[in-house]
Symmetry: C2
Amino acid sequence: MKKKIAVLPGDGIGPEVIKSALQVLDGVATRFGHEFETAEKVFGGAAIDQKGTPLPDDTLEVCKGSDAVLLGAVGGPKWDKGNVRPEQGLLALRKALNVYANLRPVQVFPGLEHLSPLKSCRVKGADFVFVRELTGGIYFSEPKKRDRKSAVDTLSYTREEISRIVEKAYELAAGRRGKVTSVDKANVLETSKLWREIVEETAKKYPNVQTEHMLVDFAAMRMISDPGSFDVIVTENMFGDILSDEASVLTGSLGMMPSASLSERGPGLYEPIHGSAPDIAGSGKANPIGMILSVAMMLRHSFQLEKEAAAVELAVFETLQAGYRTQDIYDGTGNLVSTKEMVDQIHFRMLEDSTSATLLEVYV
Amino acid sequence: MKKKIAVLPGDGIGPEVIKSALQVLDGVATRFGHEFETAEKVFGGAAIDQKGTPLPDDTLEVCKGSDAVLLGAVGGPKWDKGNVRPEQGLLALRKALNVYANLRPVQVFPGLEHLSPLKSCRVKGADFVFVRELTGGIYFSEPKKRDRKSAVDTLSYTREEISRIVEKAYELAAGRRGKVTSVDKANVLETSKLWREIVEETAKKYPNVQTEHMLVDFAAMRMISDPGSFDVIVTENMFGDILSDEASVLTGSLGMMPSASLSERGPGLYEPIHGSAPDIAGSGKANPIGMILSVAMMLRHSFQLEKEAAAVELAVFETLQAGYRTQDIYDGTGNLVSTKEMVDQIHFRMLEDSTSATLLEVYV
Ligand SMILES: [Mg+2]
Ligand SMILES: [Mg+2]
């Protein structure tokens, strides 16, 4: 298989984790005989510095012309006071690619429960995925205005915007444990009432999927008190922003969490959920696993390469089982390694698995 | 001192916890020589049943004519499918009383850290208070509309609405540990940009208070990863709704958390943060402490009876130290008691303290 991938390193540790991802992707190409053509483009704060805008036209063009986009991280205090922020580039890119569905798996890795701020018994086995609407809602709706005396934002949704994201959640749940938790604020918001109506209609098409409605404030509680009760959580943009970030600290391993942002037909956008961490940029301390698992999501969701995706995930899992730890997940036991050493271990295991897989094929 | 108090038992366990509160209030009156005149009125689901509306006119009139309002809890599955919801009465009451400032203390009781879903080391010593804007923002702003094809909500704030709540937070912080965390989403919302501007202006008037700005999604993470870092958190209505509910489970003792909703001049509204818990209504299992600590907040914030408020809080604290536990906070050790027995213990300790205080006054 031959695929074109746009690569946006971005800022801070972005370039380091992107480099890691490309090494692993190279391993996938070698082992499975694929060809991945990558085109690296400037984005975020780096693009503001070079071109005065976080999303230059040619960066966007290359993204649009690719089969998928890999993104490191953007932002940093350097650009906090400027007129344009790196994050605006991210919002613009999502909008331009029309990636309306943001998938964020939250998984507690076996053996790493102790990293969680929660008691181990609470988080053990937690394994769910957020399906967040990403291109509509209050971050984008008009009118927006502000003067010295007042300010207004607007939260609007159309039936189509809601239907497609809810549909995506049910599809995903049907291939998982079969439960959708729809989060809204239907007791006060009109957009939430429409949302709930559409969820009810969609649910009828998936008789094997269980549906649960939950108010956003209650969901914020449940996320802590019983995270194991979720399978697929579907919600609108801002609720998804808040709740998925809340959930991200439950595992205690922010640096290990991937994400995918999918459109209806165009390229998907894959990025770790962690930020650009400018304080550790260049020091070899970045955890590359969030980025590498994002590559796995790309292989699965954009290229339908399930076997390849699973191979990457297995290599990550085995490397963790073998005790390798970057500083963010190091607790004094195991083997403290740099970004580069972690990637080498993962890369090596992927090839080793390949060998044993070949051996198995020969001898069985 | 003579004060008029409107009493709204509401639904579910509301009447039980209100009864508890009144017994303790009676103790305060006896011990300190005050006169509290109470008027009980129907509210919430009970009012829908009796009068077809959750906030009948005469209930509102009595509230408006009182010095403070004590509220139990409203809602329940019985009214979930109806045209009018009990919660609408709550929104209407808050709006009518113009209680724009919602204060919600979050405190981990010494010795009860183990109740938290978080590791004890994470929550130990956590002690902060939410100052949530309660009468503006997206739950109230117009236009709101919905048809089959789309829906719209509006989030608007005026400078005055923001100024007064921010001011309240700084006042409170000045009397506490001197730190305000202002939560917004200033990277994308216009209302948040105005919010941040006003916080900056207000901060200049309080040179001894430290100011920290935090994005709402990051705050949702920090609440779990480092709850001890907060002192006063000030935020707009919906962010406050989500974050304060999230914070409420940190202590593991939802039934013990009070709240106050304050207006500029009129009566304040005091209620526990727990719901109406229809499943345990009438069984004597309700924890009355959230309601009793709300009485303490009333004594402090509406009547400026600081000594009386502290006496109630001390009695609660001592009762917990003595090992008394309602079922929701019982972990197999200590003394499992009913609502009534818990209240009797608190009431008794308040009088006992009174004796020792009197003895002290005589002998010292
Ligand atoms: Mg976020
Ligand atoms: Mg709430």
